[in-house]
Amino acid sequence: MILIPCPWCGSRDAGEFAYGGEPTPRPDPRTATREQWRGYLYLRNNVAGWTTERWYHRMGCRRYLTVQRNTVTNEVRQP
């Protein structure tokens, strides 16, 4: 499939990781409107091209990491 560059373990097969997807900042629950919550829960940019995303190295160091990936070619690079 593809190799994910783990800053602690090096490049490893994507099968060792869990996909975390695009980071979405959590709005303040005390002030957030319904539309903002909807956006936080459900809306993603779903970019065709380079995107920044989170992965979890579940079968390795079990740490979260950030990588850049081109969603059209699956090319991966360090942020």
Binding site: M1, A14, G15, A18, Y19, G21, R34, E35, R38, G39, L41, Y42, L43, R44, N45, N46, A48, T71, V72, T73, N74
Partner: protein, 382 residues
């Protein structure tokens, strides 16, 4: 009006607009050739044994339209009604199957839970023993389910729509949607502009990109789903077999090839390249169901793009931009819904009202918190 996407959804919408509502001033825009996207990449399985009452009556209408499609379009779509088995390998799956069977029966859909002995009668090659890695405890049996030739469905709708005056533009990519004061005024394409007050987004894989052109954001993420087909062998598998636990579904085409489908890939992507990991996993799972297939060779594999929504139900109808409608978010269940989606979207466009059959699938449901929760969809773990 303009329909974006020349797959089964776009072409069916155009066809029913012309046939049911007499609207033929329609342009269908397809950036490649018709049926080149999800319509030609699915595994052509038809069924209506969903979990929610909304889903069941919706897909059942689609199945009814498919059953008489060949006669209606005067085009052989090779619908083969052969029965559909969804296997249960654990207690929770079996419980969901019973639940689905009751919901189905209440809606008049033929569906029942059967045990390993009856499964063995339907599929003698299946390992229904207790020695299997994931023993089969039972299955949801759905006799009206079957398979169809998906290319023929696309071609049949295209030809019938064309004959009534609809224009199908292949090799024509949408590049922009003009919106003035909250309403659609036209579209721009790689081959010129069209003035229109109505644009229907019938794309899969690119639905968020098309919606973004109109300034509409969709709760959709695009995941590839891979499939594969074997060399042809003599007919031995009559039914469609699905195992959610093993992430695999199998059917045999009229040519004798076995068609395998799976779950969506584990991360979002627009790439349609096949992977070796998929083939390895698929082969392992298939052999757990039918060990005698071990010498069969795969001919080819491919991927299609699935627009996944948070509740495994589509997004259909009007949006906040006047004149911009969506028929998207078809995840892993778009092909079987083609006819009913076309029929209801055509009604939605022609009358300006949302048909009752799709009232649960509106874009507003995500803001209102009234999600559908269709766990009877393919590729959904139970």
């Amino acid at each position: 009006m303009v329909i974006v996407g020349g797959g089964v959804h776009g072409l069916a919408t155009a066809y029913y607009l012309a046939r049911n509502h007499g609207i033929t001033n329609v342009a269908v825009l397809e950036k490649s050739y018709i049926g080149s996207g999800g319509s030609g990449r699915n595994t052509a399985i038809l069924r209506s044994n969903y979990l929610t009452p909304d889903g069941v009556r919706f897909y059942d209408r689609s199945l009814k339209l498919y059953e008489r499609l060949a006669a209606e379009l005067n085009y052989n779509v090779m619908f083969s009604r052969r029965g559909h088995l969804t296997l249960a390998h654990n207690d929770s799956s079996l419980r969901t199957m019973r639940w689905r069977a009751e919901v189905n029966k209440a809606s008049g859909v033929d569906s029942e839970v059967i045990g390993p002995a009856d499964i063995k009668k339907l599929v003698p090659f299946m390992d229904t023993s207790e020695r299997a890695r994931y023993p089969i405890l039972g299955a949801l049996y759905h006799p009206p389910g079957g398979i169809i030739r998906h290319d023929a469905v696309v071609w049949g709708y295209a030809r019938a729509a064309d004959a009534m005056g609809v224009h199908v533009h292949q090799d024509t990519e949408l590049t922009g949607i003009d919106v003035e004061q909250g309403r659609v005024t036209g579209v721009r394409t790689s081959r010129g502009s069209i003035a229109t007050r109505v644009v229907v987004n019938c794309t899969a894989g690119w639905s968020t990109l098309v919606a973004n052109l109109a300034g509409v954001r969709l709760p959709v993420q695009t995941f590839p789903l891979q499939a594969a087909v074997t060399e042809p062998v003599r007919p031995f598998l009559d039914t469609v077999v699905v195992s959610g636990t093993l992430h695999v579904y199998v059917s045999q085409t009229d040519r004798g090839e076995l068609v395998f489908g799976a779950s969506v890939d584990p991360f979002a992507s627009y790439s349609t390249r096949g992977t070796l990991e998929f083939v390895e996993g698929l082969a392992g799972h298939v052999l757990q169901l039918m060990p005698s297939l071990s010498t069969l060779r795969l001919l080819r594999q491919w991927a299609g793009l699935c627009d996944m929504t948070p509740d495994f139900a589509p997004i259909m109808g009007h949006t906040e931009v006047d004149g911009f409608l969506v028929d998207v978010g078809w995840g892993t269940y778009g092909f079987k819904a083609g006819p009913v989606a076309g029929e209801t979207m055509a009604e939605c466009v022609a009358t300006g009202r949302t048909p009752e059959l799709i009232s649960a699938f509106g874009l507003r449901r995500f803001a209102d918190g009234s999600l559908v929760g269709e766990k009877g969809a393919a590729a959904v773990g139970h």
